[in-house]
């Protein structure tokens, strides 16, 4: 077994046994948060590693799913639509809405590449944020609180179940993304990443492909959004503001923009930093500056993030199962203008 695989296995085992090893707070708050943030970051990394599209709209879509769920399932709240649906239909419709919006966004952005794509998707996220902030019938500035979560994973009754459910879903997401990357769809996507013009001349519908890839990533992000709402019981526009959008990008970069595993590694580092940085006395209130500095250092030193550092450290071991050309080539359109 390769070094990579064994380390990965250790992580998985520790994650499964976490409720026994770590304190309740760690499991219920920090680790669960790292897991669903990792899911959203994974959707970003999937698009960037296999599709060459660095998208900042993931958070917007995650928010749309969350807000949809909030509006559908709350009842008797002063905010939101208060439709009072049951959980199951609520979740399905929320996912559907988010996927449709992702389809719309994808369709609008599918002919943009590289940095243009980054900017357009950023604008999508911010507009989603402003929409929920201003359209008070579905949210308003304060957001929706008191969102019910399914009884079988309620935090007070079964504090570990949400963590385990999130862990299971994160695992499924990871496997699904790895699998999709190897299907014809995924391979075509990688081809488009490397050379869209050639793919188009080979007869592939490049724009359609990119739209579908974006929609699929949107679905993953939406799943993350549902988990977030169950964890937090509330969602507000600030959850998906510019800050939150950049945070997910920071997570992806810290972890490694071209490796799926980086999503969860980055999320873990970020969550821990956020939680403990304030306790360090000379940082105190200025922990945002600290996060900015950490981010800056990582981008300057190792643009492939922590996973990149890891791979450099163990350089030479086989990389057959990676999206190999991902790191070497870099996402299309981000190469020097040529």
């Amino acid at each position: 077994m390769t070094l990579d695989r064994s380390v990965g296995l250790v992580f998985v085992v520790v994650a499964v046994l976490a409720p026994l090893i770590f304190s309740d707070y760690w499991v219920a708050t920090l680790l669960t948060q790292a897991l669903f943030l990792g899911i959203v970051a994974a959707s970003l990394i999937f698009l960037s590693a296999y599709g060459g599209m660095v998208s900042l709209a993931q958070v917007g879509i995650y928010g749309i799913a969350g807000f949809a769920l909030g509006n559908l399932t709350t009842n008797g709240n002063t905010k939101g639509l208060n439709l009072g649906w049951a959980e199951a239909p609520g979740v399905l419709v929320a996912l559907l809405i988010a996927v449709l919006v992702a389809l719309l966004f994808g369709a609008l952005a599918n002919r943009s590449y590289g940095i243009y794509f980054l900017m357009i998707t950023l604008v999508f996220s911010v507009i989603a944020n402003l929409f929920f902030g201003q359209v008070t019938s579905v949210s308003g500035f304060g957001g929706i609180s008191g969102i019910p979560i399914p009884d079988f994973i309620s935090r007070t009754a079964h504090p570990d179940r949400l963590y385990l459910a999130t862990l299971a879903i994160a695992g499924l997401v990871y496997l699904a993304l790895r699998y999709v990357a190897r299907t014809p769809f995924g391979l075509t996507l990688q081809g488009i990443r490397d050379d869209p013009v050639r793919m188009s001349s080979l007869g592939y519908k490049v724009a359609l492909h990119r739209t579908l890839a974006f929609t699929f990533a949107g679905f993953i992000a939406a799943v993350g959004g549902i988990l977030f709402v169950w964890w937090n019981a509330q969602i507000a526009p600030s959850t998906i503001g510019l800050g939150a959008t950049i945070d997910v990008l920071v997570i992806a970069v810290i972890g490694g923009l071209f490796q799926l595993e980086g999503a969860w590694l980055g999320a873990l580092v970020f969550v821990l930093l956020n939680n403990y940085a304030q306790d360090v006395s000379f940082i105190g209130d200025r922990f945002h500056t600290l996060i900015g500095l950490v981010f800056l250092v990582i981008v300057l030193v190792s643009p492939s993030g922590l996973m990149g550092l890891w791979q450099r450290a163990v350089a030479g071991r086989p990389r057959a199962e990676r999206a190999d050309s991902a790191e070497a080539a870099g996402p299309a359109g981000l190469k020097p203008a040529g």
Binding site: T29, Q134, F141, S145, G146, S238, L242, G243, D285
Partner: protein
């Protein structure tokens, strides 16, 4: 990345403070409020020599208890304040309120008389030491508030929490409290109406007022003193703006006025010109509940659309009186009447002066970044956190510090607390929300600089506005409350106040 989020309007959060302008109104509880006492209010800084009837009601200065420590099981206390975001600069004011209350009434001592955020040592109730386990840092956002609340209550295992600072944070915290009935929460300074009126968590207590209550009495002034008959209202298009406007509308319409136009610029507006243009010219005055970063652009846009501002045709809410903020408004608004947040820094009663000088000013020399501590005592933040902590302490005293049994006895005890607070007695209603004395204020020029004075006291202001707001009425919004003539318990009962110069 909190700082890079989109512009937020400052939700509730006590920003007010500033003095309360004493309205020279008929003192002896006369219901005749005809603004006959014209200029005494606006022109002369009033050292009104009217007999304020409330001599008997005026709370007395509070003596400090002796320093003490305990040896029993500690009561773990968490404090949640904003140290980032729009209200981040008030972080030390919040903590000054908490620590001063702890020191004055529970025998604690500040760790650093120049930096409230360092917390306190000592302090005990019934031999149970009061241990500060952590101070949360939020940034005006509900998500951050919940994350910090979790950190305090779950990671650091606090038993009770004091906070948060702002409105939407408090709704989230109240919902969290509902899920954790074996812990107790008292508010910090947040003024969102829903937190207590709608969420009604049995273990969340609030000794400070909400945004609507803070504007009580203004309608009276507008109708009777300024002679307004028709008014327009402009407010931020979200819950705090609506709540603040609702207080004015309920008050003004109860007095007999008509609100003919309501304009709601969305949050994140930078260019208010179109909204200023929409304000009608044929009203007698405009009530402005635009806050935070929007107030100044709105005022400028108004001037640029309609010409110089006549302060007698404007009224503002607490944002107009926030120290640190109102000085930025410039002399254009001198003369305008404004709501407060239940505090009256220039109140000349012994208790009020004692609070500033011998409580806040005793325990702290400096509250950064503002400077000297005593002048910051009337800040809504300092006062809000102070009275809530005091209420918690009194509740703990009633149960002798025994928080076993899921804290049920403590929660019952806090519900019955009556605080002889320096700016007026505070009790809790059946939703565990404060009934208190509100103050109306006025901006004026003192040595060519803008200053605030208190003009009237409105006793017994409750959250429901005489039944206008309840759990079953819609939340304040663009159309609610409508403009009807209602009966408000305090209409016509404004009292004069004595103020320092």
């Amino acid at each position: 990345m909190a700082a890079l989020r989109g512009t937020r309007r400052t939700p509730v959060a006590a920003a007010v403070v500033a003095g309360i302008v004493a309205l020279a109104v008929a003192a002896c509880g006369e219901s005749d409020n005809s603004g006959g006492s014209k200029s005494t209010t606006s022109a002369a800084p009033a050292n009104t020599s009217t007999q304020a009837p409330a001599a008997a009601e005026a709370p007395a200065p509070q003596k400090a208890v002796a320093p003490r420590t305990g040896t029993g099981t500690p009561i773990k206390v968490g404090v949640l304040s904003d140290c980032q975001g729009a209200f981040g600069s008030f972080d030390n004011q919040d903590l000054a309120g908490v620590v001063s209350a702890m020191s004055q009434f529970a025998g604690a001592k500040p760790k650093n008389p120049n930096k409230p955020r360092d917390g306190w040592t000592g302090g005990a109730i019934g031999n149970h030491p009061l241990k500060l386990v952590g101070i949360g840092c939020s940034d005006d956002r509900a998500d951050t508030a919940i994350r910090e609340t979790r950190r305090l209550m779950e990671q650091l295992d606090a038993d009770v929490m004091i906070g948060p600072l702002s409105g939407d944070e408090s709704i989230a915290v109240a919902n969290y409290a509902k899920q954790h009935p074996d812990k107790t929460f008292v508010d910090g300074s947040a003024g969102a109406q829903d937190t207590t009126l709608k969420v009604q968590a049995p273990n969340f207590f609030r000794f400070n007022g909400d945004g609507a209550q803070w504007n009580s009495g203004l309608g009276d002034i507008a109708y009777n003193k300024l002679g307004w008959r028709k008014a327009a209202v402009i407010s931020d298009d979200y819950s705090f703006g609506w709540t603040s406007a609702a207080g004015f509308i309920a008050d003004f319409c109860a007095a007999g006025g008509q609100v003919t136009k309501r304009v709601f610029p969305p949050l994140n507006t930078t260019d208010y010109s179109s909204y200023a243009q929409q304000l009608p010219a044929d009203v007698d005055g405009t009530f402005v509940a635009v806050g935070g970063a929007g107030l100044i652009p709105f005022l400028k846009a108004y001037e640029q659309a309609k010409g110089p501002i006549d302060a007698k045709k404007f009224m503002g809410n607490l944002f107009w009186g926030t120290p640190g903020q109102f000085e930025q408004l410039g002399p254009r608004v001198a003369g305008a009447y404004i709501g407060s947040a239940g505090t009256a820094g220039d109140l000349a009663t012994p208790a009020a002066q004692d609070y500033a000088n011998n409580i806040i000013g005793k325990w702290f020399k400096k509250i950064p970044p503002g400077g000297a501590a005593a002048p910051q005592a009337p800040s809504t933040f300092t006062y809000g956190y102070y009275v809530n902590t005091w209420g918690l302490i009194k509740g703990l005293e009633a149960v002798k510090g025994d928080i076993s049994g899921g804290q049920k006895k403590l929660q019952q005890a806090i519900g019955k607390v009556v605080l002889p607070a320096p700016y007026g007695e505070i009790k809790l209603d059946e939703n565990r929300h404060a009934v208190f004395t509100n103050y109306d204020q006025q901006l004026y020029l003192k040595n060519n600089k803008l200053a605030v004075k208190t003009v009237a006291a409105i006793p017994n202001v409750d959250q429901t506005f005489g039944g206008t707001f309840s759990k079953s009425t819609p939340a304040p919004g663009r159309k609610f409350p409508g403009c009807e003539k209602r009966s408000l318990p305090w209409l016509g009962k404004a009292q004069a106040v004595k103020v320092d110069q």
